[in-house]
């Protein structure tokens, strides 16, 4: 993978995303949601997308706005239904969007496996539940495990706190969530950050996502929406 490019505008950063792409979208609720990249994707126009994210949109901004714009064919997530998931709920009940529910740990580990070149893995999560129905199982050390396959993205859209000129990333608090895992799991990883610093401007010991996983970086104003209440 070639060195990350720091771009001037969000529109340049999201250029070339194709119809029908699988897009990994970072964030846990609003924390770590790449709002500007998603707005850029809406302007860019790609449609028929499969979105992989923890949730299926909150309120009317970010992922919810992309869903509302009719660009999403399928959502792969752990927790779609929340107090403010009205956009997704409406589309789902109208039969206009497909849903695949994946346990949150499997969602993370399946993307981790994709980024790490692991062909599949056996995991005890979900054994005996509807989410493991039809899946291959194996008993290891006396415990039943389910075979889980990687989830690879064509594109990852994530938010980080700071990047340097090589695309090394640091995050802030629980806004880190899926960012590091998604960065490695996609063919093209696009990151919005609050600031870009020169090479040498980040402590190498503190870098969380090394720049080898990052393709495009763009600075965006940090946007914070009112944090929603419990589900």
């Amino acid at each position: 993978m070639s060195r990350a490019r720091v771009l001037d505008t969000v529109d340049e950063a999201v250029a070339g995303i194709e119809d029908g792409s699988t897009v990994l979208v970072g964030g846990f609720g609003f924390a770590g949601m790449p709002f500007d990249l998603i707005d850029g994707l809406i302007r860019q126009g790609a449609t028929g997308l499969t979105i992989v994210s923890n949730n299926a949109g909150n309120g009317d901004v970010g992922l919810a706005a992309l869903l509302k714009a009719g660009r999403v064919r399928k959502v792969v997530c752990s927790f779609p239904r929340q107090s403010d998931s009205h956009v997704f709920d409406g589309l789902y009940r109208a039969g206009k969007i497909d849903l695949e529910v994946v346990p949150q740990g499997n969602l993370a580990e399946r993307m981790r496996a994709a980024g790490a070149g692991i062909g599949a893995f056996y995991c005890p999560t979900g054994v005996g539940t509807p989410l493991a129905e039809g899946k291959e199982t194996r008993t290891i050390d006396g415990r039943v495990h389910v075979l889980e396959y990687p989830i690879k993205g064509d594109v990852a859209l994530i938010a980080a706190h700071r990047a340097d000129a090589l695309g090394n990333l640091v995050y802030r608090k629980t806004a880190r969530n899926f960012g590091p895992v998604m960065a490695a799991a996609a063919t093209t990883t696009i990151v919005q950050v609050g600031a870009v610093v020169p090479a040498g401007g980040l402590d190498p010991e503190a870098v969380v996502t090394p720049g080898i996983y990052v393709d495009r970086v763009v600075r965006a104003e940090e946007r914070h929406y009112t944090v929603q209440g419990a589900r």
């Binding site: 529910v101 629980t174 590091p180």
Partner: protein, 210 residues
């Protein structure tokens, strides 16, 4: 008298060993945090990537980048750490968490858990981290009312709702009794406002005295 949610949370908190790593599920179990004794050294884990989570944030302490699994703004305690989602769930699945406390729709006497989906046709399924937590923590406590609004027992011979995990629950904390569950069936540890015999009359599963 049966226990209020806060009183029940205090009972759960009493039973968590000092120094434990603990995950508290969304909803009712969150209240356990309010009753952990000072100086217990209990470290709270939140699956969205943090250890040593502090109480809910208010006013100027609200930081949109710092929330719990219910997306409620929280605070960090000295010695807190942050990590990504795959690490967070590796902690659970890898058996590093001592206790998790979850809510439930139903628990079977053998310890099966149903807490993510009612199976109704118009319900949108949402599992979150429940299945990973259920099989990952060394001990899984459930905190729930023993009877639903129609008076039906939520401790059942076999769950009728879709399962979250098989044989994963070790103990059920309810407003009227604390009950161990598992391969040997249900055993009542203590009751609140009812006798064991009264409880037996209302439960669809045989219960022993622990």
């Amino acid at each position: 008298m049966s226990l209020s949610t806060d009183e029940l949370a205090a009972v759960v908190a009493r039973d968590i060993p000092a120094g434990s790593y603990v995950n508290l599920g969304i909803g009712r179990p969150t209240k356990v945090a309010d009753h952990l004794p000072d100086g217990s050294g209990i470290v709270l884990h939140t699956e969205n990537g943090m250890l040593n989570m502090g109480p809910a944030a208010t006013g100027g302490a609200v930081d949109p980048d710092l929330t719990n699994a219910g997306k409620v703004p929280v605070t960090e305690l000295p010695g807190a750490s942050y990590f990504h989602h795959a690490d967070s769930f590796a902690m659970m699945r890898g058996g590093h968490l001592d206790v998790c406390v979850l809510g439930a729709f139903q628990v079977s006497a053998a310890g099966d858990l149903a807490n993510w989906h009612t199976g109704e046709p118009d319900a949108i399924p949402a599992v979150g981290g429940a299945m990973d937590l259920a099989i990952g923590a060394k001990q899984v406590f459930v905190m729930m009312t023993l009877f639903d609004k129609r008076g039906r027992s939520k401790l059942v011979p076999a769950c009728t709702y879709p399962l979250t995990g098989v044989g994963c629950v070790s103990r059920v904390y309810t407003d009227v009794a604390v009950i161990d569950v598992g391969p040997d069936g249900a055993a009542v540890r203590e009751t609140f406002g009812v006798t064991l015999d009264e409880l037996r009359e209302r439960l669809p599963v045989p219960v022993e005295a622990a």
